[in-house]
C-alpha cells in the first residue's frame, strides 16, 4: 500500500490492524483526552495488578495517526510498571512508529496523555495524591471555540 500522506509503514500497520481495541467495564483506571470538535478523542482503560499494567484497551475517534498512536501506546504500556508507563512521552510513541508527519505531532498524538490520565485516575481511586503534569504549551485541544489554534 502506498504510504499515504507521509505515514510510515509502521503507522499504517497499526492503523489498519490496531491492537487492544475495546472498552473495559471493570477498568481500574480510565483516561480521556482530546475533543471531537478538533477531530480527535481518545480513551484508555487499564487493569492494574501489582503496580503493573496488566491489561489495556483503547477507543479512539480520529485520523490515522490518532488510531495508530493509541494502538502503539497500548502495546508499549502493556505489562509495564506504572511509574515507567508515566514516563512514556508523545515523542516516544512517535519514535516507535518510525515518526509522524510534523503536522500530526500535536493534536493527533495524544495517546501518551490518555495513558497518563488513566494511570492518574487509578491512583486517585486508590486515594493517592496525584500531581498534575505540566502540559507542553500549545498542545491542548480542550476548548469549545470554533477551531483549534494548534491542531
Amino acid at each position: 500500500m502506498a504510504q499515504q500522506i507521509g505515514y510510515s509503514k509502521k503507522v499504517m500497520e497499526h492503523f489498519m490492524n490496531p491492537k487492544n481495541v475495546g472498552t473495559m467495564d471493570d477498568a481500574d483506571g480510565h483516561g480521556k483526552v482530546g475533543n471531537p470538535i478538533c477531530g480527535d478523542l481518545m480513551e484508555i482503560f487499564i487493569k492494574v495488578k501489582d503496580d503493573k499494567i496488566e491489561d489495556i484497551r483503547f477507543q479512539t475517534f480520529g485520523c490515522g495517526s490518532a488510531i495508530a498512536t493509541s494502538s502503539m501506546v497500548s502495546e508499549m504500556a502493556k505489562g509495564m510498571r506504572l511509574d515507567e508507563a508515566m514516563k512514556i512521552t508523545r515523542n516516544d510513541v512517535a519514535d516507535e512508529l518510525d515518526g509522524l508527519p510534523p503536522v500530526k505531532m500535536h493534536c493527533s498524538n495524544l495517546a501518551a496523555d490518555a495513558l497518563h490520565e488513566a494511570i492518574k485516575d487509578f491512583k486517585r481511586k486508590k486515594g493517592e495524591i496525584v500531581e498534575e503534569e505540566e502540559k507542553p504549551a500549545g498542545h491542548t485541544c480542550e476548548h469549545n471555540h470554533n477551531h483549534c489554534d494548534t491542531c
Binding site: A2, I5, M16, P36, G39, T60, F61, G64
Partner: protein
C-alpha cells in the same frame, strides 16, 4: 485488485483522445502564436480551434469571448479582481456565496484588504444560495457577484438563472465558477445570463495547465497579468498550446458525450447513494435532487474522514473528505460548515465523484467496502457508544 477511482473532483485523468490530439503541439516543434511566420500561424490556428470548441461547450455568443488562462484559479482571479478593479468607479463592493472555492474566496479577501467591502451570502442546509440575502447583497455599488454553477464538495447545483436576474437588476456582473459543472451538465451562458464563467481543463479530462474565462461581449475587466498583450490584452504570456489544444478537444468530447455519460453516471451514483444511506447514522450532504450527476457525498457519525479515506484506499478505492485532518489548514471544509454541520459532523465526511473509468458493476464492491470501513472505524471509535 482493480483500482476504483472515485475522486474525479480532484482531477480527471487526461482523455486518451484529447492527449493524442494535443501531443503534436508538445513534441512537434510548434511555433509561438504571436509570430507572423507560417510556424507561428500553425500554433495560432491550434489555439483558435480550441477557442471554438470551448465556446461551443458553453454556447458562448462568439469565439473571442473565451480567454485562455493557466487554469481555473487564474481564471477566477482574473474574473474577480479584473472586474472589481476595472469598475471601481461604480463602487467597491464584491459578493460571493459562502461555499465558493478558495480561488474565489481568497481573491475576494485580497480585495477586502484593499478597502473593498466583501459580503458572503449564506446557503441553506442543502447548499442552495439564499436568494433573499443575495438580493440584499446586490447594491448599486456592487461590481461583481461570484456564485459557482455547482459545488465540488456537496454536488449542489445553484439556481444560476434566478441568481442572474437578481444581480442584474442592480447592474452587477455575475461571475460563475463552472469548474465542477462543466462537461457534466449543459451550460448555456446566454440563456443562463452569465457575464463571466470559469472553466478548468483538468476537471473535464483535459491536460493540466489550461483553463478559460468566458467574458461576455461588452463586459469590462482589466488584466491581472499585464505584459505582451496576448488574449486580447487580458492575459499576457506565451500560450500553453499543448494544454489549450488538449482542453479544446476535451471540451468537444465532453459536449458530444455529456448526455449519455451523465445518464450512465447518475444511475451508478443513485445506486451508491441508495445503498450507502442504508448504513445507520449516515447522511447525504448537499441537495438530494439538484446535484451533479456524478456526485455522491455523505457524512457518517462517530468516524473521521482521513481514516475513512485511508481504509477505502487500502481497499483500492480512492475517495476524498472534507475532514480537518486531511486539509492543509487543519480546518474542516468551509463548505460543510456553511451548510450548518458541526465540526464533529464535518470531520466524518466522504465524497465520491464518478468518472469515465467507473462502471455500474463496481457498485457492489464499493458498497461492501464502505460498509466494512464504517463497522471497523465505529468499533475503534470512542464516540457513539452510549
Amino acid at each position: 485488485m482493480e483500482r476504483i477511482f472515485l475522486d474525479h473532483a480532484s482531477v480527471t485523468p487526461v482523455d486518451a483522445r484529447a492527449l493524442r490530439f494535443a501531443e503534436p503541439y508538445l513534441a512537434g516543434g510548434y511555433g509561438n502564436p504571436s509570430s507572423l511566420h507560417s510556424v507561428g500561424l500553425e500554433a495560432r490556428r491550434a489555439i483558435e480551434d480550441a477557442r471554438t470548441k470551448v465556446a461551443a461547450l458553453i454556447n458562448a455568443e462568439k469565439e473571442k469571448t473565451i480567454l485562455f488562462t493557466s487554469g481555473a484559479t487564474e481564471a477566477n482571479n482574473l474574473a474577480i479582481k479584473g472586474a472589481a478593479l476595472r469598475n471601481v468607479g461604480k463602487g467597491k463592493k464584491v459578493v460571493s456565496s459562502a461555499i465558493e472555492h478558495m480561488s474565489v474566496l481568497n481573491p475576494m479577501k485580497d480585495l477586502q484588504k484593499n478597502e473593498f467591502e466583501f459580503t458572503t451570502v449564506p446557503v441553506d442546509s442543502s447548499g442552495i444560495v439564499d436568494l433573499e440575502k443575495l438580493e440584499d447583497s446586490a447594491t448599486r455599488e456592487t461590481t461583481v457577484t461570484s456564485i459557482m454553477y455547482a459545488n465540488n464538495e456537496i454536488g449542489t447545483i445553484e439556481p444560476i438563472r434566478e441568481i442572474s436576474e437578481i444581480v442584474h437588476e442592480k447592474g452587477v456582473y455575475l461571475h460563475v465558477d463552472a469548474t465542477a459543472a462543466a462537461g457534466r451538465i449543459p451550460i448555456d451562458v446566454q440563456a443562463d445570463g452569465i457575464d463571466l464563467l470559469t472553466l478548468s481543463s483538468n476537471d473535464m479530462y483535459g491536460p493540466q495547465g489550461a483553463g478559460a474565462l468566458y467574458v461576455k461581449t461588452g463586459v469590462r475587466i482589466q488584466p491581472v497579468l499585464p505584459g505582451g498583450g496576448q488574449e486580447r490584452g487580458l492575459r499576457s504570456g506565451t500560450e500553453n498550446i499543448f494544454a489549450i489544444a488538449g482542453m479544446g478537444e476535451a471540451a468537444r468530447i465532453a459536449r458530444e458525450e455529456m448526455g449519455t455519460e451523465s445518464a450512465r453516471l447518475s444511475e451508478m451514483r443513485n445506486s451508491l447513494i441508495e445503498e450507502i444511506l442504508k448504513i445507520e447514522e449516515t447522511y447525504l450532504t448537499g441537495h438530494p435532487t439538484k446535484r451533479l450527476p456524478h456526485h455522491a457525498s455523505f457524512r457518517f457519525s462517530h468516524i473521521e474522514g482521513e481514516s475513512i479515506l485511508l481504509i477505502m484506499d487500502a481497499q483500492g478505492i480512492q475517495v476524498s473528505t472534507g475532514s480537518a485532518c486531511s486539509s492543509k489548514t487543519l480546518e474542516p471544509s468551509h463548505v460543510l460548515l456553511a451548510i450548518g454541520l458541526k465540526h464533529e459532523e464535518a470531520h466524518g465526511s466522504m465524497v465520491m465523484t464518478l468518472g469515465r473509468s467507473n462502471t455500474v458493476e463496481q457498485v457492489p464492491r464499493v458498497v461492501d467496502a464502505v460498509n466494512e470501513m464504517v463497522v471497523k472505524l465505529r468499533k475503534i471509535s470512542s464516540l457513539g457508544k452510549e
